[in-house]
């Protein structure tokens, strides 16, 4: 499905507002929309809402071989898929330009900033290591999925626990969650992406663009940073010409944003931890809790049903109902099966390794490999001509020359 384009007047309207330092949702230029982080019941599952934009991130791991180039390291794999779930413009399966850019940015933010301690993921050097996989699902695209997914990804990584392993010589045992407490991944730092959008030759700049703003922007600059004021990624996309000081301004703003968001994440993690300790209700069931206007809840319900014996006689009753149906609409059950049941009790063995049953008689495939090898008579018939021709080939060849019609 194609994305419905923005009408010119709408475009104008938005741009004018931006020019007057106003945004449609009443935010200031450097404000984020309100951020909500929730964790699933399963570990390493994080759900982030940034305004109306929603992203789900799930971290998983499995044991595999390490890369030849880095035998002492585990492997981190980041997968961002823009499915039609998020917005109709995206197509299932094929990666769009946007998708590639997004997933590369995520990769650079998480991998190349080396926020995850790869050595700690190694089980047996050069033989076995953990493959950690981050799946990021964009559920709803209302602008700035990039920041949202980076938040989701990093908090999911922080929330995740991998099963414990113990190595005794050759033996490698992976302990189930019941046997031993799973261990968290060791994160060096928490890089986050902050994107800045530019309008009208970079004259105006906004943080956390909404969908509409993204549609009218001329370019975007993404700053990846952690709370130690270390830049982890920097990227300018779109067709625009920037000047150095603009870049610097962005990075300085990013600092404040990152520190704030990082705090939020830590807080959320803490809450989840407490909830689990208290055996409280956690997970998404809370997210879709019945308190919203559009939502509804049916409390756990007892289903009363007659006991087995009842259903037994139910069976008998159904049996007779069946014959009824068989009688009243004759077409109901084709008589094919009846026939087969009646006479097909006899299995015909045609040759060694070839048997048949039921209607229709032997198939065209009767003389196939096994059949033919054994089935001498068939084979003979087949082969006589071949042989014959082989013997008197001259004759056959001249017959070929001879003219049939004159």
């Amino acid at each position: 499905m194609r994305e419905t384009p923005l009408s010119n007047c709408e475009r104008e309207f938005i741009l004018n507002n931006i020019a007057q330092q106003r945004r449609l949702d009443g935010r200031n230029a450097y404000d984020y929309r309100d951020l909500r982080i929730a964790f699933g019941v399963s570990l390493g599952c994080c759900h982030v809402e940034l305004g109306k934009t929603r992203v789900l991130a799930q971290v998983s791991c499995e044991v595999g071989d390490p890369k030849q180039t880095r035998p002492h390291n585990g492997v981190l794999f980041v997968n961002v898929e823009l499915s039609p779930m998020a917005c109709p413009a995206y197509e299932q399966g094929k990666q769009s330009e946007e998708g590639i850019e997004l997933s590369r940015l995520m990769e650079r933010c998480l991998k190349e900033s080396r926020c995850l301690d790869m050595e700690s993921l190694c089980i047996v050097s050069g033989e076995k290591a953990w493959h950690v996989r981050v799946d990021i699902h964009v559920l709803n695209h209302e602008g700035n999925i990039l920041d949202c997914s980076s938040i989701a990804a990093i908090s999911a990584l922080a929330h995740f626990r991998r099963p414990d392993v113990s190595v005794h010589g050759e033996e490698i045992t992976i302990h189930t969650l019941e046997e031993r407490n799973p261990v968290p991944l060791s994160l060096h730092h928490m890089p986050l992406l902050v994107s800045f959008t530019f309008f009208s030759q970079g004259k105006y700049m906004l943080v956390d663009p909404s969908l509409k703003e993204e549609k009218v922007m001329e370019g975007k600059m993404v700053v990846g940073m952690n709370k130690h004021r270390e830049l982890c990624t920097l990227q300018v996309t779109g067709q625009m010409l920037l000047l150095k000081d603009q870049v610097l301004r962005c990075s300085s703003i990013a600092v404040t944003k990152v520190t704030k968001i990082t705090e939020l994440i830590h807080q959320a993690l803490e809450n989840d931890k407490q909830a689990r300790l208290r055996g409280d209700k956690h997970g998404f069931a809370v997210l879709v809790s019945g308190d919203k206007v559009t939502s509804n809840r049916l409390p756990t319900t007892e289903v009363s049903v007659e006991k087995t014996e009842v259903s037994m006689e139910g069976q008998s009753s159904e049996e007779d109902s069946e014959d009824q149906s068989a009688t009243n609409n004759g077409a109901d059950i084709s008589d094919k099966p009846d026939e087969s049941t009646s006479k097909s009790s006899a299995v015909h063995i045609l040759t060694k390794g070839v048997g048949m049953i039921g209607e229709g008689g032997p198939s065209t495939w009767l003389d196939l490999p096994q059949a033919i090898e054994k089935q001498q008579k068939v084979k003979k018939r087949k082969h006589r001509p071949a042989k014959a021709e082989e013997e008197e080939e001259q004759e056959s060849s001249e017959e070929e020359e001879q003219v049939i019609l004159k």
Binding site: P369, A386, E390
Partner: protein, 272 residues
């Protein structure tokens, strides 16, 4: 993360048990009798039949002892991609070994060898088909080798040409193919798989011949529509064995003829 998400995938580290089995070497240079008891110059019995795939426009099945090939022909269909549109008809060929057809387990995806063979079969058949009669449409040939015991290529070509004929596609002539393996002084006609890879492993003196030839031949136009050879061969030997293959094609031709005539008669019987 399995790479092929559309199939059930097993462990990569799995190996064929035959890798651990003792290998029995077969020396072709001094061999009086062939493993299957044929004489050097003898062809394997050829079994052909048509109409094996009910859904196809034309189809055929060929069997040379343990080499078993099935082929189906579909079309003429319309060309969907506007890029490869042409007023002349097009022929496509898709050659595949089943995973279990060979000694070593094969992959599901078409590998380079199969691609190469597809092209060879295609070029062998193209000269024989009256493509100008099928404007802006294409004819698809699908070949599957169920079991590979040598000379799969020649079997496939022969099989395909019969399938085309049985499909009622207009052709200038049938195509018959046959192959030979040369090792030193001996020339084995219609080699089996065992002989073929014995050939590859054969440690012959540098100036000695070791290789194989496959020739596709249009019998009644007496034209060679495809020829391919592997291994190191001297010019004379190659030429000689090529002639031999041509001769063998002539021998096989009547079998094809017989099969097709029978096929047609069955049709007639069906009509009346």
């Amino acid at each position: 993360m399995p790479l092929d998400t559309r199939r059930l995938t097993g462990p990569e580290s799995s190996q064929s048990p035959y890798n651990f089995a003792p290998v029995n070497k077969l020396d072709l240079t001094q061999l009086d009798k062939r493993p299957d008891g044929r004489s050097i110059k003898k062809l394997r019995p050829l079994f052909l039949r048509t109409n094996v795939v009910s859904q196809a426009r034309g189809s055929s099945y060929i069997e040379m002892n343990e080499t078993k090939v099935i082929c189906a022909v579909y079309g003429p269909r319309e060309v969907l991609r506007r890029e490869d549109f042409s007023l002349k008809g097009q022929l496509t060929c898709d050659f595949k070994f089943t995973t279990f057809s060979c000694r070593q387990r094969r992959q599901y995806q078409q590998d380079s060898q199969e691609k190469d063979l597809s092209v060879l079969v295609l070029e062998a058949l193209e000269p024989a088909v009256c493509l100008h009669k099928y404007p802006k449409s294409q004819i698809n040939i699908f070949i599957t080798v169920l079991q590979h015991d040598g000379s799969a290529l020649s079997a496939a070509i022969t099989c395909a040409s019969v399938a085309l004929a049985s499909a009622g596609i207009e052709m200038y002539d049938l195509v018959v193919a046959s192959s030979a393996a040369i090792c030193g002084s001996v020339t084995l006609i219609d080699p089996t798989a065992q002989e073929e890879d014995a050939l590859l492993k054969a440690t012959v003196k540098p100036d000695n011949n070791a290789g194989s030839v496959t020739v596709a031949f249009l019998p009644s136009l007496s034209q060679v529509s495809a020829i391919s050879s592997d291994g190191e061969l001297s010019f004379e030997i190659l030429n000689k064995s090529m002639q031999e293959c041509v001769a063998n094609c002539q021998k096989l031709y009547p079998v094809l003829e017989h099969t097709l005539v029978k096929h047609q008669q069955e049709l007639e019987a069906g009509r009346s």
